[in-house]
Symmetry: C2
Subunit: 219 residues, 2 copies
DNA sequence: AAGTGTGAAGCCTTTCACAGCC
DNA sequence: GGCTGTGAAAGGCTTCACACTT
């Protein structure tokens, strides 16, 4: 879940990291139903947050609504895309094309036009050359070249735990500045690189606690 | 990445949810290197948290260490397993055996003895009957029966977004009390059910913001 | 001397409550 | 009247600092 993830929110106007992580949820909802008019309550109901939260989050970046009326859906979506830096287009490389890597590559290709996976890499010679989600899998030796050519800024690590550290090092060397890490290991990277760890086991075990605690509370 | 996830920590002694989510990381590290003696600093270094954090987290549940000395690795691991409710064994069902579901099923089967996937379900007739990670895929109609027979308490949703709501409803009906949801949708469930949403797109887009912000800060 | 356990302080995030505008 | 924008209050989590134990 989180390791040093939350040491992350440096920009000018000091935006809470929690706010940044909710913006994509707002954006998705706005895009899903191209409604002209939105209120903070409706947007909150659909994303699972409170209306105050929605208003406060947006207020960090400006005043996008009209009092007594609400928000214009299209305009707000545009603003959020701009804030997140999606309008410029985000390019990511993915290392480790097993089931998980394949699932992510397909998912991103299918559902995102603003985030694009521009390189798939694997050490397995049997996988190199195969095509997944419209991209040909390459060997790790091509990482630097592709990352540079495509100006990739994000990296996704879906390799086994013991390879993750080495892959992270290669990504940094290739100029990657943000990493989504699915391997259950704490990566050691410079302060300037953002790492988000997603660790299924941790989530499952934490869930086990809550379910058990609940059982104890209501016997 | 959180919707109503953090509305979660009701038990007797009011344990911070953040603490519960770190315990599995401590546990994994303790199990990885079966060292007899651990200090909070070493455990913190390995998991990526501060030593005070480690001590405070553990202190919520008791005094497991020896002053001036440290913690006994085996004993501490045992305590954490007990706290999380893992010693009783946790049983989960998984719905949606695509690439992502397959990856998770394999991963859990390979790396967990305390969390076990006792049922795999899919609506696709072509998948039903196939075997993944040692378990045969069944149709959704068998969910209630299997969940009851195996006393499953957790559910993992790895179906496409538009099916997630219906699957969640079926899981609740089958008596599931904790859900790990990989579909990018807010599920609506009763207060008593714990839901943890894991949403790749949100993470990727949030990462895009941080990377961009960094770029702005150091032009 | 070394390292745990813990109140107190500080920081971050959410919620409240209401003024302001349409 | 309805809904946004926002200071103030509340709540939750992390860090500090130190007493305490071996």
């Amino acid at each position: 879940m989180d390791r040093r993830d939350d040491a992350t929110n440096p920009p000018g106007r000091r935006i809470p990291g929690a706010t940044v992580r909710r913006l994509p949820a707002y954006l998705r909802t706005l895009e899903e139903t191209a409604d002209a008019r939105w209120t903070s309550s409706e947007l909150g109901r659909r994303t699972g947050f409170s209306s105050e939260q929605v208003r406060k989050d947006l207020a960090y970046f400006g005043a996008f609504g009209t009092r007594g009326v609400g928000y214009d859906g299209r305009a707000l979506a545009g603003q959020i895309r701009r804030i997140l830096g999606l309008d410029a287009g985000v390019r990511a490389v993915l290392v480790g094309v097993g089931h998980l890597g394949t699932a992510l590559a397909n998912f991103v290709a299918r559902t995102h036009q603003d985030v694009r996976i521009v390189g798939l890499f694997d050490v397995d010679p049997l996988k190199v050359g195969r095509e997944v989600a419209g991209t040909t899998i390459l060997g790790l030796e091509s990482l630097d070249r592709v990352a540079a050519e495509e100006a990739a800024s994000l990296g996704i690590i879906t390799v086994p735990s013991d390879a993750a550290g080495a892959v992270a090092a290669r990504l940094l060397q290739a100029g990657i500045r943000g990493i989504l890490n699915f391997a259950p290991t704490a990566l050691s990277v410079p302060e300037s690189v953002y790492v988000r760890n997603i660790d299924l086991s941790l989530e499952l075990q934490a869930l086990a606690y809550f379910v058990q605690a609940e059982a104890v509370t209501h016997p």
